[in-house]
Structures are given as structure tokens and as C-alpha cells.
Symmetry: C2
Subunit: 320 residues, 2 copies
């Protein structure tokens, strides 16, 4: 198209998008005190009818930070009244698709909407993140050619155990954890990260997916808030024995090891919070847990045997 036509179209579509966006409210992700929002509290990879896949957002002043991007993260952001163009930093804990699946929609719709806040976006994650994002950008080329506006500039920063970066006045420190423990010795060396966000008003640690881990305990030392995954292994293993009475011992033991060494049982989550000396604990990423009140009460009691601070179980869109 002609330059004039292209410019008119760009201006018009931006206006159109701003118009369609009116329902999003005026929040634009600004917050005077830090707020941790649970966008999705379900463990994947099987999509769940009542909880969204893992995604979280840390609201701080005008720089909301997206932490993991499960399927439907863009829609969950809308439910939390956070415009997708207000986000310029994304942290990925690990590359299992339940934590990354929503990234294509997030990046694509952010570009297609062409909102006024859209600028350079930086995606942080473990080794492999750059290859993933490059693939997504390649996948976006056909669709981006149908948009009058230019795609966002983007940057990928791969992190490893002990990395530390700053996003504005938020210091982000990461360690590798034990989520891929059973892969050790296999030749593959996948990395799963936990993050600590030190903000001017408080410190928040997000475990991502992990089993018991001295690294994570150290990372979480003295944090104001620990957002931890949880796996109700007892319930899940009971169901396994009930539903598969002929299960081999080898298979049963593998599943048990996965649940208890690569994820955190309620007891292990309580121990982590106690050893780290955090002030408050929020449980998310429900695996083997239905979230029904009787189960929550039972799990809270188990956690409380070791951890005596505040214990809360998150549901989608809860704020902490």
C-alpha cells in the first residue's frame, strides 16, 4: 500500500483497538504497593475446567511483570484488568508447555492490538528460552504481515543458577531447582528456575515447579511472601492404586518419585517455608489437589505442623 494509506491504516487501527479496549478499565497495571496476582493456579499439562494454567503477574508501579504464561494468560490478564500492552517483562520458570503455552497468543494479540503502551518486551527464562521465542516470532511472521503496525521489539535473556537482573527498581534473583531431578544422569541437563523478586516494599519468592531444594530454601530466606507449588501426592497415589490395581512396582515408584522429588508435597512445602523463615505462604499450581474445602483444610493442617506463618491456598485471580 502507499505510505499515506499505510500510515492512515496504522493510526486508524490503533484507534480502533483503543476503542475496543475501553472495557479494560484504566488500571494499566499501575500499583503503588506491590500486588501478586494469581492468573492461573492449576498444574498442567491437562487443561482443567475450573482453574487456569500457571501464570502470575507482579504489579508494581507502572511495570507489571508477567511470571509464567500458561494457556489463556492473556484472557486471565483481561479478567484482572491488566492490559497486555502494559507488560514489558516476562519471566519463564521452565519450558514445560503448561508454563509457556500462552506466550504465542500473548505476543501476537499484543502486536495485533497495537495498544498505546506497547514497547520493547524482554523475556527472561532458562536455557532454551531464546530458541522458543525465536520459533514463536517465526510463527508470527505470516500473521504479522496482516497487521499495519510493526511487531514489537523484543529481547530474550537466558538465566542460570545464581543469575540476577533488574527490572526498573525490582531486583530479580534466580536459582536452579530440582524439578528435573529424575533427568540427572540421562545426558540431558534441563534447567528449571525459581525466582526471588526484591521490591522496595517487600520480597516475593516464586518456586515455579520444584521438589525439595536447598537452592530454593536459600533463595527464599527471610522472604515476606513465598508462592509455592504444591502436589497432594498422598491423594494422587491413593487414586493411582485404586484405579490401577495391577500397576507394576517400577511404575508406581517412578510416579511416586516424580510427585515427591520433582514436586512439593504439603509436608515439603511447609518445611520449605519454615526452613526459609518466610512470613507468609501462598500455595498454587495444584497437582493432585481438587481445591475442595475439606482437602484444603487437611493440607493446611499438614503444612501448619512445620510452618507457623500465614498459609493461603490460591484460586484464580486472587491477589496477595
Amino acid at each position: 500500500m502507499s505510505t499515506l494509506k499505510a500510515k492512515t491504516k496504522t493510526a486508524s487501527l490503533s484507534l480502533l483497538c483503543a476503542l475496543v479496549a475501553l472495557g479494560c478499565g484504566a488500571a494499566r497495571g499501575q500499583s503503588a504497593k506491590s500486588v501478586w496476582v494469581e492468573l492461573g493456579t492449576q498444574a498442567g499439562p491437562i487443561p482443567n475446567p475450573t482453574r487456569s494454567e500457571p501464570a502470575h503477574v507482579l504489579l508494581w508501579r507502572d511495570q507489571p511483570i508477567l511470571v509464567d504464561v500458561g494457556d489463556g494468560a492473556a484472557e486471565q490478564l483481561a479478567k484482572a484488568h491488566i492490559p497486555i500492552d502494559s507488560i514489558h517483562a516476562v519471566f519463564i520458570s521452565h519450558l514445560h508447555f503448561d508454563h509457556t503455552g500462552g506466550l504465542f497468543a500473548f505476543l501476537g494479540m499484543r502486536d495485533q492490538g497495537g495498544g498505546p503502551g506497547r514497547k520493547l518486551i524482554t523475556i527472561y527464562g532458562p536455557p532454551g528460552t531464546k530458541a522458543m521465542v525465536d520459533g514463536l516470532r517465526s510463527a508470527m511472521q505470516s500473521g504479522s504481515a496482516l497487521l499495519p503496525q510493526k511487531p514489537s521489539d523484543y529481547k530474550v535473556v537466558e538465566l542460570s543458577d545464581g543469575s540476577s537482573v533488574s527490572v526498573g527498581d525490582v531486583k530479580v534473583t534466580t536459582v536452579s531447582n530440582s524439578h528435573y531431578l529424575l533427568w540427572r544422569g540421562s545426558g540431558a541437563q534441563p534447567v528449571s528456575l525459581s525466582y526471588r523478586f526484591d521490591l522496595p516494599d517487600r520480597s516475593i519468592v516464586y518456586t515455579g515447579d520444584t521438589g525439595p531444594s536447598a537452592n530454593v530454601e536459600k533463595l527464599a530466606h527471610g522472604a515476606d511472601l513465598l508462592v509455592s507449588e504444591i502436589m497432594d501426592a498422598d491423594t494422587a497415589l491413593d487414586e493411582l492404586k485404586r484405579d490401577r490395581p495391577g500397576i507394576s512396582k517400577v511404575t508406581y515408584n517412578f510416579v511416586r518419585d516424580h510427585f515427591t522429588k520433582e514436586h512439593l508435597t504439603p509436608n515439603q512445602a511447609g518445611l520449605l517455608a519454615a526452613h526459609a523463615g518466610v512470613r507468609a505462604l501462598v500455595l498454587t499450581h495444584f497437582g493432585g489437589a481438587t481445591g475442595y474445602p475439606d482437602q484444603i483444610a487437611r493440607l493446611t493442617k499438614v503444612i501448619g505442623e512445620n510452618f507457623h506463618g500465614s498459609i493461603r491456598f490460591a484460586t484464580d485471580l486472587d491477589q496477595f
Copy 2:
């Protein structure tokens, strides 16, 4: 890892996934009569807090067909009790990200879950679909390396005006429509497709995104059900004039043309249904429409001036 260890891990994780999937029910997408399920009824690209992005599924016997894959489509499938591994055919109408954004999560979680029904998946769409899917598969490599099971085999079939393919005993015919009308003469030649599904029990036409189009009228001729997009242009243009009193005539006219030539106003949707002689009309892909009852009543009246069959406005998870 050793072959034995790898095999055990594969078997174990499949079992694990089957276990975690128990909540999905026994539906597995089977249906003796065809059912059209609206997974997402919102027009993108701005995510909406009350309606999911465009996605639909056609249930027919043991071969459910996914039609467009907006953000959160995998989670919407879970809400409709349709396991993601039961789907082996996906049709994409066009490459705007509100219709494709959920594909990365869908493909990734389907592989990660490793469910028992997972086999070759075929993705049909306009030119550019292969490049998009190839990019997604490239993006998946880092994450797939963390899975014990092999990624799904996949095939992409690019369609153009007049193409016809079969999925089992469902005949699918497509035409190009007018959604990219304003791009004509720009050098770019994007294609947006509408689909007709001829099943043994009835015929269903899905407009995708389109403006008035003789091709779509012809495609929809005599169909039992027309699933049409809708744009409440009058409301949207009134809001535009109210919110942007200084808008230039050029920009206003462009937006008006986009709304009324590249999308379907209520009057145009009614004319399409009437001219095609369809039996029933379902409206989806709400643009400029809030879905409040008074608006629905007003739009129904406008459509009813031309079309005298059944008129229904879809909400997420409605079945037709």
C-alpha cells in the same frame, strides 16, 4: 537415559497423565449427532474478561474438529469436557492472532499430556499456515526435549478459494471471503476463509471473519446452520464519535469501512442468512457488542427484518 529407564518413564508419565486427566470425564469428543460448540465468542485482539477468543469445535462421532484456536482454546475444551488428545483435525479461518493464538498451548499441552488418543494431527488453513505451524514446531523443540514421549506427527494442508477436503465422512468446503478487502491493491494478498461442513446429519457454515461476500452467500446456500460473525458497527461508531470528538474524517471513514466492509453488521448478517436461505443463524465473534440483553434484543430485531429463521446469539460453551 537408558532405554529401559526411558521406556519406564514414558509408561509412567502416560499413566500419570491419564490419572491427572480423570476429571475430564468420559466424553472423548464422541457424539452420535453433530454438535457445534462455541468455545469462544469474543472478537479479538483485545482479550475480554467475559468472553473467550474465537474457537469452536464440531463434535461428530469420534472425530471432533477444532475450528479456529484463540487464546485459551485448550482450557475452553476442558470446560466442554473434550480431551485435547481426541482432536486430530484443526481448521484455521485466517491468520489474525485472535484466531490462532491458542495453537501453541494446544499443540504443546497435547504432546506433554501424552494422552492415549494422541495421533497424527492435520492443520488446515489459508496460505501462510504452514509457515506458522513450522514456527510453532520450532518453538516447541526446547520444551519437547523435556518430554519422555515423542511429539505428535503433524501435517499442514493449505487451502484456497474453492478447496474441498474430507475428514472422515465430513466434507469440508472453503471459499475466500472479504475480510481483507481493504488490503486489495496494497500488494499483499492475504486470504481469509469461510468453511462449510457437510455432515451426514446436517450442514454447518462458519463465516470466520468476513464482510459481505457473494462467495460466502453461495457457500452457505441451503445450510442447516450458519454460524456468523457480527459487528455492531452503529454502537461502535457512536462510541468512537463520543470518545474522539476530534477524529479526522479520513480516520473515521477508514474505521467505518473496516467495520462495515471487512466485518458483518447485524443488517448484513441478516441479509447473508436470508439470501443463502439457511434454516438457522447463530451469531458469534462479538465486536462492538457487549452481549447485554437489551443490545441482543435490538440486534435480533434488525437481523429479523431480513431473516425469518431461528436467530440465536452465542455465549461461550453454548452448543448448537
